[in-house]
Amino acid sequence: MFKGWILFLFILGYLGVLFIIAYIAERREKSGRSIVSNPYVYSLSLAVYCTSWTFYGSVGRAATSGFSFLTIYLGPTLMAALWAVLLKKIIRIAKQNRITTISDFIGVRYGNSLFLSAFVTIVAVVGITPYLGLQIKAIISTLTILAGQTKGMAAAGWYITLILGVFAIIFGARRLDSSERHEGLIFAIAFESLIKLVAFLMVGLYVTYYLFDGFGDIFDRIKDSEFGGLLFLGTGTQVSYTEWASLLFLSMTAIMFLPRQFHVAVVENSDISHVSKAMWLFPLYLLLINIFVMPLAFGGLLLGGSQADADIFMLTIPLGQGNLLIALLTFIGGFAAATGMIIVESLALSTMVMNNLIMPTVYRFAEKKLFEVIYPVFIINIKRLVIMGCIAFGYFFAVSVGEFYSLVDIGLKSFEAMTIFAPSIILGLYWKRGNKKGALAGIMAGFIIWFYTLIVPAMLKAGIIDEHGYFSMLINSEILNPHALFGLKGLDRWSHSLFWGLFFNLFFYISLSIFTKQDSEEERQSLIFVDSYTPQALPARADYTLQEIEAVLEQYLGKREAREIIDSFLMKNRLTRNSLAARELAMVRDEALRILSGALGSAIATIILEDKLLITEKERGELSDSIRQMTDTLRLSRQELEEANRSLAYLKEFSENIIESAPVGIVTVDAHRHITYWNREMEKMTQISKPETANRPVLSLLPWIPADTFEKNGQREMELQTPLQQSFKINISPFTDPSGGFVVIFEDVTEKKKMEEQLVQAVKLASIGKLTAGISHEIGNPLASISSLVQELRDLPVEACSEKTFFSESLLTINSHIERIARIVRSLGDFARISTREKTLSNLPEILERTINLVRYDKRFKHIDLKTEIGEVPLLKVNPDQLQQVFLNLILNAFDVMQDGGTLAVSMRQLDGFIEIGFRDTGPGIDSSVIDKIFDPFFTTKPLGRGTGLGLSICYGIIREHSGTITVKSEKGAGTAFYIRLPAD
């Protein structure tokens, strides 16, 4: 054992180191080379979570109920994963709104409610102070053990407490602004976290590897001992799965909402990006510090310790082994753990008490004049006093009441208290409807349940309150039994309290938030918190006066209105015109901003109040000019837009008009061959009205269109017959639009076709006309010959046998002439017949021969040499009359140009897949200037009256209908050659 005073010196030394470290850190911060603004110090500072509970209590709990201690550290580990989302958001909001405590956070969120934040402060103080006290108790008791004494070294404890208070004051409450960071303090805390870890690991290593043979050894031996059940969880063990889950939940809320955690994680944070590293560094710390907990617990048990004393195994094991060094190390670790908690928690609590309880009270009741004079000094010292007060309060708690409770027990009660804040904070961050009344009711309900289910039983047990009378009835009733509210039995007390606490908390919070309305302040705040709405940063500048603020308001709201607003605000906040501190002036300014935002919109209002309070006349003029310009431009744009809209409508009408009035039928069809448009002309042509066509398949409406028409791509034209004897020429073009579809143009060519036929007929008749003279001759002459011979024969004397030769010769001649006539008559008969439109399988050479026969014997053409070269060609499906017409036309033309004789060579042969018919004459040829026009209708080189000019155009038409081609080759002076090519299908 140690001598008391040696220990004391040691402790002083340790604290001295702490002071030095903090001081160094502060100096570095001032000079700009901060050693605290990094994620490693940040993460270590978060480890202030591990108090003497971690150091001693975990081992104690492990020895009594196995793994359940782990929940306290698993919870924060899991929660750390959400920090990326949750903590960053909280930090951002806190920094933006200059929030420095958890009570402020809640208060600001719910419409800057002072009452709410005050209430939260009370709950926090009630919930945390016992816990704080227990830390002091731990210090005292461990000190006692180490010093080998049995009675408490309370006095030493008192001194230590004082020193801690001084430390907290020096490094935490030097300046007034609580939103400033305390780098020295944080560095000291981080340092202590390191000490804790190292100490624990060392002790753990000592016990596990020095006193035993490693993890395996300890675990095996425990398994075989009476304590084997500690290795398991669930049914049959000390810890039910429900309790496990509840404890897990508790630690999750604790890591977020314990005032000291909020302080180090949010207020002391210098860079949000540090959170990312902390997300794994902190859980890693927790993992490391817990590795040896079980070995230590089991080791203690195996070494003969009892479960009841397991809390101090950390000390008693090395002491029992006579290892004073290790014991000292343990003590230091535990000391560091406790002091860290005490310092930060007292700072956090005191800030809350100051800001939410004391200051508002002071504002309300203090004398104005007195107040403003001593304001700064007054405030800072009150804060210091409060810090001391918190610690002192904790000390007294520890000394008087703390005997009865275990560290863990009190700690868990504090954790349960923190869950009271969970709904209002978590929901407050994500649910805009969450309002002040709901938060208040929820927190109240939660607090009442907590107090009733956890504190009251404890107080009863400690004898602080007695059971009698009505109170006794209450306690022992079925419904309101603190251990089984509303009859819910079977849960461990933590789960039980948690369940009912959260239930009522949430119930009131949600129902009141839904059924009551928020005021505008609450709405604004909820926007700020939930949607991260950032109103323009309002710089806290003091270089404007109240008069200036009022003047601005006057400009926009009128003199009387402005005055009223200012006056009422001052009155409401108990301020006077002439004695406003910078802070109060800022409040007035904020109020002015709020009012102006209502009138002008927040953007403009902010601009007006932001930099200069008064905008100059010139600036005002410019502002209104630009506003006017904007509205003018807008108006103009609107006009232009209306104009464009009108033009568009007109254009649409126009194009529809065109389509409707077109003299051709226009039909559009979509990709599924359904009709999408049917114009007026189509209605006329087909007698099918537009409504009947809507979305019908085009092929069912017009069945005379071949089914495969719409299959092929590319533009196509075809002539079709309807059952009603109409002829339509249709032109199909696919849409270029990728959605497909076609546009089909219909032309009623029935009349035209009729006229064409008539024309063909007329030309034929004209040809006939041309031939008539010839034909008369063709027939007339042989007829005259026959007649003359017959008359001669008739006049011959009967007996003249000498004329026998003449007789027989004449008869022969007569016969041949008759045959000649017959042939001509036949050819003519064929020709004069009205030709049909049908194509039949015909023998082309025969048609050609027949045509040639028509003219062969025409004496007019006697001097023309007619050469024929007709080869073997297959039968072809043609219209024989029409082809004859063509041949005749070409032959006659040739004859026409070879008036003074020449040669006409007519040929027919098969060439590739074609049958080629050629007409080559040796006439004067066709001039190159007219050769392109010869197939044009009504084009003729013959003098007026002699040629109709239709012949070749009709030939062209006929050949084209046979899917053939007719071409001409000619040169002036070198004859003309016509070539007809017909496909030999």
Binding site: F67, L70, L74, T77, L78, M79, A80, A81, L82, A84, V85, K88, K89, R92, F215, F219, L231, F232, L233, G234, Y241, W244, A245, L248, I272, S273, S276, K277, M279, W280, P283, L284, L287, I291, M294, S532
Partner: protein, 68 residues
């Protein structure tokens, strides 16, 4: 891709719930026999996953800290 996770709040919520599930009744019952190893293993793994996602996220593009 991991950078994407960093910015994606759903991933963290998912990880949180997964972890909570792993550290609660169904799994604790399954692994009741080897709880020490189970705790150490899953806890370590959890930390590792967070570490990996956070560091690669940082390397890729740094923080853009949008509010979620």
């Amino acid at each position: 891709m991991i950078h994407f996770y960093m910015k994606n709040k759903e991933f963290w919520v998912f990880l949180f719930f997964l972890g909570t599930l792993l550290f609660n009744w169904p799994f604790l019952d399954i692994f009741n026999m080897v709880l020490p190893f189970y705790f150490l293993g899953v806890w370590g793994l959890f930390i590792l996953v967070v570490y990996l996602v956070v560091t690669t996220g940082d390397r890729k593009g740094g923080e853009r800290d949008e509010d979620v």
